[in-house]
Every structure is written in structure tokens, then in C-alpha cells.
């Protein structure tokens, strides 16, 4: 068949690893959220189980596992049980298409008496040429999980919460996808690798057909499209149903929104989906506006040459470069995730009409203006 068994194995294993990464990140994030909230509010938070309370989530998970099954009367069983499974899908599918580091080159080697390689493994689940369009498409499927949960559990709070959630999600999806048009105009490609490659080195921009360089700033997208960055970040809060946009589960009004009737592991699965949204949003923010896995002023090629000079072989140097770059991305993502948690205790919740007004009457026009201004600016800047 011409398909290399070794390569296929690695590629399949990558899927599992990336999915497990998302699932594993959730307990850490929940711990961070609870400890962070406690820190901001000047209290202790979970600190009993294990060092710093790190084992708390393990204990919670075990407790969740041993909960009694529950199905409300009149509930549509199929929808009720399918909804949490569906809620897992968009986040993981989107995360797998974001590059987590530069590709690893593996030099040819001999295994079991057979000549293998050379290979290039990308640090992502699958490389899709249309990157961001795929992510937008997949994350727009997120509404189904909510609607199925809301309808399936045959409860008023759930139905209202689901309708609110999906109306909010679709409203902010407009601002989200429109704010990305600005950055696509600047880079002229959907491909994440090309976008990241264009963000390396010092800040370089065209003006009246002449190239200018500002040597003390990295060449990040945020300097080309600051308004787009702010709009994108704000609408991801709404997409992930986080405060100040957590209307779907406003405790004071709707008990818990669409997952009112859920408990145990089923609720945890909704949580995983929600945190998956946050992780994807942070990774996208880093990729589009903050150089992705790139370290400011240092290109991956430089890192690799450095490791070569230290006496590492091709494979080892490449793997180490990928590791270092991946850590850079991880730092950025962690920073944005912390902002997500921070904002939760800084801003109060919106009212529903304010939320819709903000989405449709402020953010949409601003995003549109951003597109027009960027287009005109590009035209002016590149004309001699």
C-alpha cells in the first residue's frame, strides 16, 4: 500500500495523545480556577487533599464516578445521554488542528533490520490547509450539545438555558469570525504554520511601499490588528460561556442552565467541553496574535542550530527545538487561561439584553470597521 506502518502508528498515537492532553488539562485548570479564585478573594480554596490541594480533583473524579444514575421523567433518553458526549467533540477536534510546535524531523534509522525514514512529524493531530475555517466550522457544532441537553432533559430551566446559550453563542460567533478577517487580511493565508512563520523576527511593516523595522518589538499580529485581538478575546469569553458572559448558567436565574438535570460524570463531560473551548481559544489567540509557538526574536532554525552546536544529532536537535517551542506556546496559553480566570472575579455578569446589545450593536460594527480599516491600510501601505 505504500503506507509506512511506523508513520501510521505515530500518527494514530498522536490523536490519542492530543485528546488525552485536553482531558488531562481539565483537572489542572479546575484546580487553578479554584485556587486562583480563592487567591483573588483572599481565602484558602481546596488545600487539604494532597500537596496544595492538587489531589482534590482526583478525589472529585472518583466521587463523580460513583454517583447514582439519574434520568428525569419525560426526558428523551437518547438526547439526554448523547448531549454530554457531543459536547466533548468540538473542542478536541479543534485543538488537534492547531500546531503545538515546529515539525520534528527524524533522520533515517534502522529498526528490526529494516531501513526506516526519514520522517517529518508535525506536532498536531492533522494538518488541514484551511486551518481556521475548519476550527470555526467545528466549534459552530458546539450549539448541538447544548440544545440536545436542554431539550432532552425536559426541564424548563434546561430549555431556557440551552436557548439562551445557543443564541448567545451564535451572536458572538459573528463577531468572532469577523474579527479574524482582519488578521487573515494581514497574513493572506489560512495555514497556521505560515501565519506563525510570518510572525518571527522583529516587527516589520510596509508603509508607502517602503519596509520599516522596529527592532525592539516582536513581529506579532497584535501590533497589526489590536482591535481585532480585543474583539476576538472578548467574543471567545462569550463562546466559552465564561463570566462576564455566563448567562446560560446564571445561577440566580436559571439554576444551572442547560445542565440543570445533569450530575456526576455527565456534568464533568460538559465541563471538559467547556474548558476545551477555553484551551482552543487561548491557543488561537497565541497563534494569531502572539506568535504561536515562536519565541520572540528567535526563530526555530536558530534554536536548532544552537542544539546542533551543542553536539546533538538531527533527530535530537529537532525534537529539543520542538520541545522548547512547545513550552513557549504553553507559557502563552497558560497566561491567557489565567486571564480567563482572572476576569471571572473582576467583571460582573451582564444582563441578557446588554449582552445581545454588546454583541450585535457594538462588537459587530467594530469588527466590520476593523476589516475595512485593515483593508484600506494594507492598500495604502503596499502602494508605492
Amino acid at each position: 500500500m505504500g503506507v509506512d506502518a511506523f508513520e501510521t502508528t505515530i500518527n494514530v498515537a498522536k490523536m490519542f495523545v492530543i485528546f488525552l492532553m485536553m482531558v488531562q488539562a481539565v483537572p489542572v485548570l479546575v484546580w487553578l480556577e479554584r485556587r486562583g479564585s480563592a487567591f483573588i478573594q483572599n481565602r484558602f480554596g481546596p488545600n487539604r487533599v494532597g500537596p496544595l490541594g492538587l489531589m482534590q480533583l482526583l478525589a472529585d473524579a472518583v466521587k463523580f464516578l460513583f454517583k447514582e444514575e439519574f434520568l428525569p421523567k419525560k426526558a428523551v433518553a437518547f438526547l439526554y445521554y448523547a448531549a454530554p458526549v457531543i459536547a466533548l467533540v468540538p473542542g478536541a477536534l479543534a485543538l488537534a488542528s492547531i500546531p503545538l510546535g515546529p515539525p520534528i524531523e527524524v533522520a533515517a534509522f534502522e529498526m528490526l533490520g529494516r531501513q526506516m525514514g526519514p520522517y517529518v512529524f508535525k506536532l498536531q493531530g492533522y494538518d488541514i490547509g484551511i486551518g481556521i475555517v475548519f476550527i470555526l466550522g467545528v466549534s459552530s457544532l458546539g450549539a448541538y450539545g447544548l440544545l440536545m441537553a436542554g431539550w432532552g432533559s425536559a426541564s424548563k430551566y434546561s430549555l431556557l438555558g440551552a436557548l439562551r446559550a445557543s443564541a448567545q453563542m451564535i451572536s458572538y460567533e459573528l463577531a468572532l469570525s469577523l474579527s479574524l478577517v482582519g488578521i487573515l487580511l494581514v497574513y493572506g493565508t489560512f495555514n497556521f504554520y505560515e501565519i506563525i512563520a510570518q510572525q518571527q523576527g522583529p516587527l516589520r511593516f510596509m508603509f508607502w511601499g517602503k519596509e520599516n523595522v522596529i527592532s525592539w518589538l516582536p513581529n506579532w499580529g497584535v501590533f497589526f490588528n489590536p482591535v481585532g485581538m480585543i474583539l476576538f478575546a472578548a467574543s471567545t469569553f462569550a463562546e466559552a460561556n465564561r463570566l462576564p458572559f455566563d448567562l446560560p448558567e446564571a445561577e440566580g436565574e436559571l439554576v444551572a442552565g442547560f445542565h440543570t438535570e445533569y450530575g456526576g460524570f455527565k456534568m464533568l463531560m460538559f465541563f471538559i467541553g467547556e474548558y476545551g473551548h477555553m484551551i482552543v481559544a487561548s491557543a488561537l489567540l497565541a497563534t494569531f496574535y502572539f506568535g504561536g509557538y515562536g519565541i520572540p526574536f528567535v526563530s526555530p532554525a536558530n534554536i536548532e542550530t544552537f542544539f546542533h552546536a551543542q553536539g546533538f544529532g538531527l533527530t535530537a536537535a529537532s525534537a529539543l527545538t520542538a520541545l522548547v517551542s512547545h513550552l513557549a506556546l504553553l507559557v502563552k496559553v497558560a497566561l491567557f487561561l489565567w486571564v480567563f480566570i482572572w476576569v471571572r472575579w473582576t467583571l460582573p455578569r451582564f444582563r441578557y439584553d446588554q449582552l445581545m446589545d454588546l454583541g450585535w450593536k457594538s462588537m459587530l460594527p467594530w469588527a466590520l470597521a476593523n476589516v475595512v480599516v485593515t483593508a484600506v491600510w494594507l492598500l495604502v501601505a503596499n502602494t508605492k
Binding site: 428525569p72 492533522y126 450593536k361 476589516v371 492598500l379
Partner: protein, 123 residues
């Protein structure tokens, strides 16, 4: 391995994992015990009323309709956005900007109309 197969594979992995979790947590938990109160949907402790009477604002579906229309307009901007820089460098930027300018103008007219006609008003 092509990307389409990879996407399908990952989707299958996720769904299998989810179903596995459902089954495991269903098996491990205590035996389900029915009672009239427990099986009732939660309504803050008040006696539940029939869900058929739930009145939902028609605003929700109006929002969804407007979302479809604006979403398509934004989707049309995506191919334009990727090809714009190339065209600007090739000297055809004015033409593309004009083509999209008319489209954006129609978009703005629609948006202003919706705002003026109070279709986006939630009260």
C-alpha cells in the same frame, strides 16, 4: 495518512471515550432508585408544571435567522481576505476593495436596518 481519515478517527476516539465514561459511571454508581419526587425535573422545589406551557420568546429564532444571514456575508469575506494581499501586491487591490466595499455597504445597510427596526431589541 490523509487528514480526512485522521479527523474521522479522532471523532470516533472521542465518541468512544464519551460512551465508555457514560457506561462506566452508570455501572459503578449505586442502583437507581425511583421515587416520584426524584424523577421530577428540578423546579426550585415547587411542584412541577407541564413543560408544554413553557412560553419561549420568539426573539430567539429571530436572532438565529439574522445570524444565518450575517454569517453567510462573513463567510464570503474569507476567500476575499486570503487573496487580498496578493492582489494588492499585483496591483489589483483597488478592484477587490471596491468589489467587497459594495458588499460591505449592503451588510452595513442591513445591520442599520435591523438596529433601527428594533429587531435586535431584547427587553
Amino acid at each position: 495518512m490523509n487528514a480526512l481519515f485522521a479527523v474521522i478517527l479522532l471523532a470516533i476516539i472521542i465518541i468512544t471515550f464519551g460512551v465508555f465514561l457514560l457506561v462506566v459511571s452508570g455501572r459503578l454508581g449505586p442502583k437507581r432508585q425511583h421515587s416520584a419526587v426524584k424523577d421530577m425535573p428540578y423546579e426550585s422545589g415547587l411542584p412541577g408544571t407541564d413543560t408544554k406551557d413553557t412560553k419561549v420568546s420568539v426573539k430567539f429564532y429571530l436572532t438565529a435567522i439574522l445570524f444565518i444571514i450575517f454569517d453567510i456575508e462573513i463567510v464570503f469575506m474569507y476567500p476575499w481576505a486570503v487573496t487580498y494581499l496578493d492582489s494588492v501586491k499585483a496591483g489589483a487591490g483597488i478592484y477587490l476593495l471596491g468589489a467587497m466595499g459594495v458588499f460591505i455597504l449592503l451588510f452595513v445597510i442591513g445591520l442599520i436596518w435591523e438596529i433601527k427596526s428594533k429587531a435586535l431589541e431584547w427587553d
